[in-house]
């Protein structure tokens, strides 16, 4: 099962290393990870995607809580969140394929952020499903490079 956990930490040197160290030490894998300061610059949010059994997730969360710099942990309910990742895709494009690619890009409401003689760079934000769909459609043209951020997520409505 895929779980998204959102961890508020003190924004201090070494905290990320402590968290990633804990994961590898306890034999858990991180699927994706995104870090950045919150509106309070002393506090950062780390969003982690973890594939694990229910029991393991419980252990991960408890072990994370033991890190002194961890302030709060939430496991996000996938049915009640907005999740996003941002992906940059550099794809081969010549005069023949370019129109077709542009069409796909517009259907996905993605953006062209760089145009060169033989390539296009596309920026897309969305949930994993949407990104994956675009990726699949672009693959036949030749994906030269693909860079993605970790997933970030926020619960809907009044709960926070």
């Amino acid at each position: 099962m895929n779980h998204i956990i959102s961890v508020l930490v003190e924004n201090k040197a070494g905290v990320l290393a402590k968290i990633s160290g804990l994961f590898s030490r306890r034999g858990f894998n991180i699927g994706s990870l995104a870090v950045g300061p919150t509106d309070d610059e002393k506090i950062s949010r780390i969003t982690l995607e973890v594939n694990a059994e229910e029991h393991s997730i419980e252990q991960i969360i408890k072990q994370l809580y033991k890190l002194i710099n961890v302030i709060k942990i939430q496991e996000l309910d996938p049915s009640n969140i907005v999740e996003r990742e941002l992906v940059l895709i550099k794809v081969s494009a010549d005069s023949k394929t370019r129109p077709e690619i542009l069409e796909i890009v517009s259907v996905f409401r993605a953006n062209i952020v760089d145009v060169a003689k033989k390539t296009l760079m596309i920026e897309i934000t969305g949930n994993s499903k949407k990104v994956k769909a675009l990726e699949d459609l672009l693959r036949p043209f030749g994906i030269l490079e693909l860079v993605r951020t970790g997933k970030i997520a926020c619960t809907r409505g009044g709960k926070y």
Partner: protein, 569 residues
Amino acid sequence: MAKITGAQMIIKCLKEEGVEVIFGYPGGKVIPLYDALFDSDIRHILVRHEQGAAHAADGYARVTGKTGVCIATSGPGATNLVTGIANAHMDSIPIVAITGQVGTAQIGTDAFQEADITGIAAPVTKHNYLVKDVKELPRVIKEAFRIASTGRPGPVLIDIPVDITTDLIDENFKLDISLPGYKPTLKGNLKQVRMAAKKIAESKKPVIFAGGGVISSGASDILRKFVKIAKIPVITSLLGMGSFPENNELSLSMAGMHGTKYANLAFTEADLIIAVGVRFDDRVTGKLSEFAPEADIIHIDIDPAEIGKNVKVLIPVVGDAKIVLTDLENEYRKYIEKKGIPDRKEWLSRIKKLKEDYPLKYDRSSNKVKPAYVVEKIYELTKGDAIICTEVGQNQMWAAQFYKFTKPRTLVSSGGLGTMGFGLPAAIGAKIGRPDKTVIDIAGDGSIQMVSQELSTAVTNKINIKIMLLNNGYLGMVRQWQEFFFKKRYSQTCIYNCVDFVKLVEAYGGVGFRVKKKEEVEGAIKKALEINNLVLVDFWIDREENVYPMVAPGSPISEMLESEMLEGV
């Protein structure tokens, strides 16, 4: 305002924390710190290897309940501490380790004697700090002691670059501690406690399983009080020994791989385990899927991550053992006042029978020096009132089995990490913490050679510990496994007669004598206890004596190998 150096500030802060003694070893990056220490009345014990400093701080903490402190220089000094820190981490012992570090400007350049000690030690510390500004020192030191000694105790490391110790700071500078993510739960949820009380009252065959948490939280008295009214037999882990008096009829001593058979069978037959401050280590549970098959588990622990980690728990209570047990005793008393005292005659007579049927045994008629006999004599002659430190291996298990622990903080033994070489330096720390007590290291010939240089520390500081060396000329515990499971192929475990321990201890200025005959055992122990110096008694024990009973690795704890089953196989 008067300015002082960072080093002076460190000493000032340590004094404010009530530190009376530091175990350490100097080096380039801590010279300023040692210079400040020179003017201080904090006692410093110069060890001979930094591992000894960490173990001594650990031993000191175990017997006093205070936080132990050790210091090492950067690089190799710091890495030498790591085993000791890991040992304290596994056994939840509060120590603060201060390491020197290369100057802030040099960090990350592979400077001379640079080691990323906060990185190296992260997995084996409760928390650690790299101090980058002298102004952080007062706050960091305060936080370190707070973290080490509260909640589930553990080691905290503070890495201090040398320039921070020479930078100047206002003498009275202070910053409030800031630990927004650190709030250990002390008070257990009362609803859970009530549920637990009811469950206990309804149980026909309950056992209490008491661990190191009972000792570290100071819950031994309330445990005894609770047992007195609830009449529930008590099993301990190795680290829990002393939390409940072993000479009490309800004590089942230690369970597990080399625990008593009656404790293991009681676990197996119990319908309820009330676990307090234990973590269900594999050395206790044996084959997990067959551990205590009939029992529901109430688990009281200060660390929520321990609850449900290894065994399934019916009623979890997160909190400090002492506070929770106090509430539990109260709730239980109220419950039975209303509903009556549960009748557990049958279970208690079953327990009594188990104890009668499966006592710990060894060949008492043998005229060889049996290790169990030596330990029993030590118990007798110290009237059970000594602090017993152990090394690791067979010696440790014989000490645990045959010394009857009746008070908390009287057994000092490396449980979780099983660190050979722990006993001697830990005994040094223990004796400094409790100079009023007889402190004995029940040692093994292999283990003590890992740290024998600390004999010098003990003698030069007049730390009169008594070392009872159970010398079998083997890495005995490993040899025992080789005997049972590897067809007696004693690969690299014979260390027979490789050093004259009597001469060794004499070389350091201590007293040593050798015992090869059973009839000399008693006299030798008496003499050792009387001599006002460090004494090592080199007992040449029956070399291939094994520790029984034993649960083979991977077996359920109900299946124990006993001497009769194996002799002649």
